[in-house]
């Protein structure tokens, strides 16, 4: 007989330690690292599209197990996806080992029937028993899910209960989380492809690891990947990473493609009724989101406490807010709100929902004051300032010329409004595409 019910529960020996108590921010007042969250479940109920959701979670776990830069031996060390429950939504997210691919499964209202007695975030292992259980879910099964501070349990068929050890979030992930949301927030939807088109598109992905960039163009009604650069085409580096989506393609109703204005990332969102799967790719296969400097500019200025307390109102997990509305309501400048959201995103506290164009709030277990250590370029810039290595030569309104002592040479930094240039190798190579260099950051911080 095929078993009828199968309970697999994931629990941690210790409760997931939430947040960040380091600095006494109101925003985080409700949570401290000492609080043993034994409270109610974040979510308890069943999933309406068990088969699709299970398939999406398998795809997510495949993303987490994949690596496009490391050796297979290193890649075999699995990490755990992050689960956030609250505001009628369940989100599961994770990175590939190389941190160059970010994936998220969103179970939207209607995709589940259950309650959210509390809300919160945990990170869970997707180990072999969980994979086995998810693979066994069929369309007619019921899939019960329970998420709380210590564990997530999935039940579709009987027997066995497995306890997993909690693995701390890898720093690379936290760094990736800080950047990817900012890329997402800047992204725009460029293509919507139907069932047939999306299948046609994926047929054109060359075999093996692809070194050159590919460009997505739509000719007539037919989308295609081409190695030839064309105006307005979506540029995808490391296109073979898209193969992670392949198992889900036959099930999807639609694919939407979102692109960062400077092509620094692309996001491929598949829709299955009330379940969404999104996959974001970094600019190139060897570049992880963790190393990009997208958050740096916004970290220069300090954010006023007034705004932090305004943010407190939005401090429920999965609570969404629109940066523009917040700016209007709090009568704050857009720039300030931008810095605030970046700061929070840089702490991994905000995620971005492309469909609704809103940030959502989540809590991750690490400290506020670790933010600097996650941005080495910012740390280096601070050090340059501390060692008094920045000399402003001239400053007229928006125009600044400065000299920054580097290793053995002195760099020239010129800032003209938003345009900044430096003579260092990092800037010479990337021309600002991967965020400012530490020299520009130091100068900006000094004149701020």
């Amino acid at each position: 007989m095929i078993p009828e019910t199968n309970t697999i529960s994931y629990s941690y020996p210790a409760p997931s330690a939430f947040i960040a108590g380091g600095a006494p921010r109101l925003l985080l007042a409700g949570y401290s690292e000492t609080e043993k969250a034994t409270g109610p479940a974040f979510f308890q109920g069943s999933l309406e599209q068990p088969y699709i959701t299970a398939r999406c979670l398998i795809a997510l776990s495949n993303v987490v197990r994949s690596s496009f830069t490391l050796t297979p031996a290193t890649a075999a060390m699995m990490k755990d996806p992050i689960v956030t429950a609250g505001a009628e939504k369940l989100r599961f997210e994770g990175f590939s080992q190389c941190a160059g691919v970010y994936a998220r499964v969103d179970v939207l209202p209607g995709g589940h029937s259950g309650t959210f007695p509390a809300n919160g975030t945990v990170n869970v292992d997707f180990n072999q028993p969980m994979i086995n259980a998810l693979h066994a879910v069929s369309r007619n099964d019921t899939l019960q899910l329970m998420v709380n501070a210590r564990e997530i349990s999935v039940q579709s068929q009987p027997e066995e209960s497995i306890t997993e050890k909690k693995v701390p979030l890898p720093v690379k992930w936290i760094k990736g989380l800080t950047t990817v949301q900012l890329f997402l927030a800047a992204s725009e939807k460029v293509h919507t492809l139907n069932k047939v088109q999306l299948r046609q598109l994926f047929q054109g992905i060359p075999a093996g690891a692809v070194k050159t960039d590919y460009y997505l163009t739509v000719r007539g009604n037919r989308p295609a990947f081409s190695p030839v650069k064309a105006a307005n085409a979506v540029c995808v580096g490391g296109i073979h990473r898209l193969r992670l989506l392949e198992p889900l393609l036959p099930l999807a109703d639609e694919l939407q493609v979102f692109v960062h204005p400077d092509m620094q990332s692309t996001t491929w969102q598949l829709y299955f009724g009330n379940v969404r799967f999104s996959l974001s790719l970094s600019r190139e296969a060897w570049r992880g989101f963790s190393g990009e400097g997208a958050a740096l500019d916004s970290l220069i200025a300090d954010v006023p406490d007034r705004l932090i307390s305004a943010m407190d109102k939005y401090g429920h997990v999965n609570q969404e807010f629109n940066a523009t509305l917040l700016a209007v309501e709090e009568q704050a400048g857009f720039e300030e709100i931008d810095q605030l959201t970046t700061r929070l995103a840089a702490m991994g506290l905000l995620g971005f929902d492309l469909d609704d164009n809103v940030y959502f709030y989540r809590r991750l277990p690490f400290k506020l004051n670790r933010i600097m250590s996650l941005n080495p370029r910012m740390k280096d810039a601070e050090q340059l300032l501390a060692e008094d290595k920045v000399v402003i030569i001239s400053q007229q309104q928006d125009k600044v010329e400065a000299r920054v002592a580097g290793s053995g040479v002195t760099h020239t930094v010129m800032i003209d409004g938003d345009l900044a240039r430096c003579t260092c190798t990092w800037f010479a190579k990337h021309q600002g595409e991967r965020g400012p260099c530490k020299h520009i950051l130091a100068v900006r911080k000094k004149i701020n």
Binding site: G220, V409, T423, K429
Partner: protein, 944 residues
């Protein structure tokens, strides 16, 4: 005697039998106290020493290793023990057994688990040992530990099959055995590890074991069957999944069993491995006609099954549906919708089968189906559309889109003008290889900045100088010889400036740091005399000579600019700009460097020359005026007398490479074969004899050699005394690639862009080196070919024989990116800027002898159909021309090419009128492999 001395004595006398009594005597504190001394002993005995002249081994003997393994295990903590190499020795020869009765560290269990996770468990730890440790309460047997060793537990000594070992403990078969189905393991390899030969009814391995003991009821057969099916969906690798599928097949499930397994068979259709899907479908086919068949569940899984592009899977699925449809007609509407996914396949057979079933089952008024069909219509083959005609009426969507003409921009204009920026920021960027023209711009900018260069500016260039020093010393992988040459040039420049600016020298002398370029200036090569193995290649000379010229100008404070610096991307010079530069030379009464002049002429954008010509007409009458009138005026002929022969030749080669100018008859360059200068080489694709390597001959001490034939595209390069004259032509340098072309991937574009009007000379050398055989597709060759193709694509120039050859070869390349790029190159130039007929013929010249696998071409063509009507027509022209040069003997896979041709003709609703093709079709009729395809095509022949 101290404990340490006692231990030393045990080691020197190699009394390994006494180590246990010795250690047992010590208290825990005494053991701990031994650690520092033991570490020294370990280091001493682990050291590698030369035993005789050639052999190296560690100093310790086997007894000494045993002593040290036990001693370190007992005296060290976990971290310290992990750092030693004794965890292998510890598990050998029962050493561990001698210890565990009186000493067992509390970290042992966790350490073993960690090794299992990391797959570093020593090979001597076997299943039996783990069971004993568990029985002693020393080890927790987790599934990971079990599956890491159980697969080998079926074999005994010398890897001989000993199934009895699995019955030693009841838990082995009642619990551990089932972990093999649940966790990733290497059980699939174990079959090939055994040294036993089959003697009875069963194979001496796991499969045979399972077959035997499920047969007699020892192992639950039903559960094995179920677990095999579950195992295909547990993210195991392809080989392991394959093993479970083979096991299932071996057990030959009966129909009654299959009925019970039905839900799992259906679930197996989700497997990522097609072998599992195929097998499951095979079993489902047996059940399909039954009343109890779960047809709804099959429909649920159809999208995934149809998504595999494996022909046999789709064929079996269609067969199952046909059977199921008879007993469960209600599945028909849904099945028709899902079957449409078959139209994404390029296989005609698959499409036809699906289409026929749809036609048979469809409700003609089913709007959803009609909608679905129209969505798939663009990928349907013509024959499919014919079958489904009835269902697709009223849908105009089948019409392909109009051709999107790629906007044709002039050779030069605002879109590609090179904008100069601040020298200090630009200089840093030059070494990052961000653009091809950066190489030329740096010397030009340094020349232009001569009068304004201050000590302060030089100081600001420091990061760039330092970068150049790094590039010279440790060039990174993406740097070519040109980047290193540029670095030498720039450092030479820096040194010259320092030597002539006391304030700057003083500042430099203050710099600390041994790696600073100024500190290492004495080792810095002089650009003029710098030599490496590759700098000798003539093809690199022009760039180097330009830099030498720039350096000379700087040293001589010569204010005149270089003529050859591009003004527009990727390597063009605006004729007006060139004329203005040359005017400066004329007014200064200085004769330009002739290589600089040649490159400038070769880079001149000869598209809209009216404004430049007007300027030239204002020049004083003389050779410059005649030369540039000849270059810029398409109708002008060369007018003597000629004192700058090399410049005139270059102008002729740039303007009309295939024209022979009588006026140049007396030039010394005429002793060179003209093909070396205009790149119009002869080429031939076919078999070529070569001396192949055979077996190794022990007596001769060498390999036997024999004559064989290889299929190559061979370009004939005529012999010529290149680079012998006083003022060689630029093309002579470009021919000097040596016997084995040694050009970096990143240099190719810059070298080709020396002659953007007519890059054929170097292009031919690239093809001869990287595309002679269709099997040349190593990283380096593919990189060079792709960069060549990208460079050609960036140049909107008329086509020549060599460029047609290049595009044809690229369309047949093994690398999908190169192939796709070449197809786009063609597609973006049809109908007027490329001849599909000429390209088709060139492809045909390769494929008539099967130079490349035909699949490369047919796959490419399938991706290029139905993009636009114009492209469909161009494809037809290309394929007709391609086939027209074939021979009477059908080549391998001709059938597929003919099918693709038939499809293109059907899309265009065309008939065959080309007489050469008709003759060939008639000739091929007799060949059984292509007969069917030929007959289909002959129906389209219109006799004239």
């Amino acid at each position: 005697m101290t404990h340490l001395e006692e231990l030393e004595q045990l080691l020197t006398t190699e009394r390994d039998q006494d180590i246990v009594p010795f250690l047992r005597r010590l208290t825990p504190e005494e053991r701990k106290a031994l650690k520092p001394g033991l570490t020294k002993l370990d280091t001493y005995y682990s050291e590698f020493v030369e035993t005789d002249q050639k052999n190296w081994r560690s100093r310790m003997t086997i007894p000494q290793a045993k002593i040290l393994a036990i001693a370190t295990f007992v005296c060290y903590d976990r971290n310290a023990f992990q750092r030693t190499n004794f965890h292998f020795t510890l598990f050998r020869d029962g050493l561990l057994g001698k210890v565990i009765s009186w000493y067992m560290p509390d970290w042992f269990d966790a350490w073993m688990q960690e090794m299992a996770e990391k797959e570093t468990l020593p090979g001597d730890v076997d299943y039996r040992m783990m069971m004993e440790l568990q029985a002693g309460g020393l080890l927790t047997l987790t599934p990971t530990l079990v599956v890491s060793r159980l697969p080998m537990a079926i074999n005994g000594k010398h890897r001989l099959y000993e199934p009895a070992r699995l019955f030693e403990s009841p838990v082995t078969l009642s619990e551990h055995f089932w972990y093999l189905f649940e966790y990733p393991s290497n059980v699939h390899f174990s079959d090939s590890w055994t040294n036993s030969k089959k003697t009875g009814d069963f194979e001496p391995n796991w499969k045979g074991f399972i077959q035997q003991y499920t047969g007699d009821g020892t192992i639950n057969r039903r559960r094995v069957l179920e677990e095999c099916l579950k195992a295909v969906n547990r993210n195991f690798n392809k080989l392991q999944v394959g093993w479970f599928v083979d096991l299932l097949t071996l057990l030959k499930p009966e129909k009654a069993e299959l009925e019970q397994l039905q839900p799992l068979l259906l679930q197996a259709l989700n497997s990522p491995q097609s072998k599992a899907i195929n097998t499951a479908l095979g079993y489902l086919k047996v059940l399909a006609a039954e009343k109890s068949f779960e047809h709804q569940a099959l429909l649920d899984h159809l999208p995934q099954v149809m998504a595999t592009d494996k022909k046999n899977i789709i064929t079996t699925t269609i067969q199952i549906l046909e059977k199921a449809g008879k007993t469960h007609p209600e599945i028909k509407p849904q099945a028709c919708l899902e079957l449409c996914a078959a139209f994404l396949s390029k296989d005609e057979d698959v499409q036809t089968k699906a289409a026929k079933l749809i036609l048979q089952w469809a409700d003609k008024n089913d709007a959803a189906l009609r909608e679905q069909l129209s969505q798939y219509s663009s990928s349907m083959l013509a024959s499919t559309r014919n079958v489904l005609q009835e269902l697709m009426e009223g849908h105009a969507d089948t019409e392909v889109a109009a051709h999107e003409e790629v906007e044709r921009l002039p050779l030069i204009g605002e879109h590609n003008r090179i904008l100069t920026e601040d020298l200090i920021f630009f200089a840093s960027q030059v070494f990052e290889n961000n653009a091809t023209w950066h190489f030329d711009l740096l010397p030009a900018m340094l020349l232009a900045a001569q009068d304004t260069m201050t000590t302060e500016t030089l100081w600001q260039l420091e990061p760039a100088f330092q970068r150049a020093a790094t590039v010279l010393k440790r060039p990174s992988g993406n740097m070519g010889l040109l980047d290193i040459t540029q670095a030498v040039f720039f450092l030479n420049y820096g040194k010259w400036m320092a030597d002539n600016d006391a304030a700057y020298t003083a500042k430099l002398n203050e710099v600390k740091g041994a790696q600073h370029w100024w500190r290492t200036r004495h080792e810095m090569p002089e650009l003029e005399h710098w030599k490496t193995s590759r700098t000798e290649s003539a093809v690199y000379m022009p760039h180097r000579k330009l830099l030498v010229l720039a350096l000379k100008k700087i040293r001589e404070k010569d204010p005149l600019p270089l003529l050859s610096t591009p003004s527009h991307e990727p390597g063009w010079i605006d004729p007006e700009v060139l004329v203005q530069r040359l005017a400066l030379y004329q007014s200064a009464g200085v004769l330009p460097d002739m290589l600089d002049m040649q490159i400038a002429i070769a880079r001149c954008a000869l598209q809209d020359t009216a404004a430049a010509l007007t300027l030239v007409q204002q020049w004083p009458a003389g050779e410059y005026q005649r030369l540039f009138t000849f270059l810029l005026d398409a109708a002008a002929l060369p007018q003597g007398p000629f004192s700058m022969e090399v410049a005139w030749m270059q102008a002729g080669l740039t303007k009309a490479p295939l024209t022979t100018y009588e006026a140049f008859a007396g030039f010394s360059y005429n002793h060179l074969p003209v093909a070396l200068l205009n790149g119009d080489y002869a080429w031939k694709t076919g078999g070529k004899p070569y001396l192949a390597y055979g077996q190794y001959n022990r007596e001769k001490g060498d390999y036997d050699r024999y004559m064989s034939e290889e299929l190559v595209m061979d370009i004939t390069f005529p012999e010529g005394d290149i680079l012998k004259g006083a003022s060689p032509l630029l093309q002579e340098y470009l021919n000097g690639v040596g016997q084995y072309m040694s050009v970096s991937i990143t240099d190719v574009a810059r070298l080709l862009l020396l002659t953007p009007n007519h890059p054929d000379v170097l292009l031919a050398r690239v093809m001869q080196s990287c595309q002679r055989s269709s099997a040349y597709y190593e990283v380096n060759e593919t990189g060079i070919v792709l960069n060549t193709l990208k460079t050609l694509h960036s140049l909107d120039i008329p086509h020549s024989e060599m460029r047609y050859l290049c595009i044809a070869l690229c369309m047949l390349h093994a690398d999908k990116t190169v192939k796709g790029y070449a197809a786009e190159y063609w597609s973006s130039r049809i109908p007027d800027r490329i001849s599909s007929e000429k390209l088709g013929q060139t492809i045909g010249m390769q494929q008539r002898v099967s130079w490349a696998p035909m699949k490369r071409l047919t796959d490419l063509i399938s991706t290029q159909t139905q993009i636009s009507r114009l492209q469909n027509e161009a494809l037809e022209t290309l394929l007709t021309a391609c086939l027209s040069v074939f021979t009477d003997t059908p080549v391998k896979d001709l059938k597929k090419l003919l099918e693709v041709y038939a499809e293109v003709l059907a899309i265009n609703n065309s008939s065959i009128t080309n007489t050469a093709v008709i003759q060939l079709l008639n000739a091929w009729q007799g060949s059984s492999t292509v007969k069917k395809a030929v007959q289909q095509l002959l129906k389209r022949v219109v006799q004239q």
